[in-house]
Amino acid sequence: MTTTSLAAEASTGEAVQFWILGTVAVLGALSTILLKRAVHSALSLAGTMIILAVFYLANGAYFLGVVQIVVYTGAIMMLFLFVVMLVGVTAADSLKETLKGQRWLAAACGLGFGILLIAGIGNASLKHFNGLGEANAGGNVQGLAALIFTKYVFAFEVTGALLITAAVGAMVLTHRERTERARTQREQSEARIRDGKQVTPLPAPGVYARHNAVDVPGLLPDGTPSELTVNPTLRGRGQIRDVSGESLAELKALEQRSEERLGRSEEAKR
């Protein structure tokens, strides 16, 4: 195994790996922040993380590499995706900047920051690397364990507490207690009458005989879609699929096809 011989100087193989995967990681990061849809961001981020995991391995942090894959790309990213689903898969927030000058400031600060960081690293004398040879001698995991349970034991305990607290907190935040009794149908109708905006029950979604998916608004007599028919969550995500247009298009297509058939039949007569 190469661990023992993991030298201060990286081998050419590692160099190749670094240059290739590094590029990919950067691309992934960029796409994370540049892609419109949250899902795509999440996926590209996951990619970057996996690459980072590889880098950890390359740096002799085998345990971390595994954890990175398992915890991050496994658990956390899934959590992300889950929330994205919850909030809206297709919810694409426009990258159009609303805050005045925000983007320029961000660019300036970001660039300045990055340049400074790199400059800092550049003129910090980090030339000499003494690899993890002896540190990992007894195996990386054992080494970490030794440290965690001796030197860092208290920090470790505290992080445990932190995690529990976080879990409880998350529950408290997301779980909504139903405090009052659900309103009966009668009460609801009475309420509707009282505030008199929408007396009748809400119209059902779907265009009869064509789409009856919940995200398709029903058409009003004049053919325009009615927002009311779609449930508010979808509305909030802005995921209403307006089908009035495409249904017309389909109609046109149908007529054309029929004409073609007719035309072909005429040729057949000749």
Binding site: F18, D93, C109, L163
Partner: protein, 99 residues
Amino acid sequence: MNPVNYLYLAALLFTIGAAGVLIRRNAIVVFMCIELMLNACNLAFVAFSRMHGNLDGQIIAFFTMVVAAAEVVVGLAIIVSIFRTRHTASVDDASLMKL
């Protein structure tokens, strides 16, 4: 190749993440960027632990992960509840700090 390149990479990723935090409005994406920054830090830690030849850097990276996990959990929970009440996940709409 000099392993210091890992540090450069970390810096780059970190910067990108920061920029993302600044320019994205969707809270979830902002969170992802934060994760990206954390990961960049971890990479740096790992590289340092290689440099110094001891494992403390890795330990710290480990703790970072744990904390990041906790943070994500809570953060996402917050996002969800905000979304519930305001039907949006845009950080700009939640400009409650303004008088």
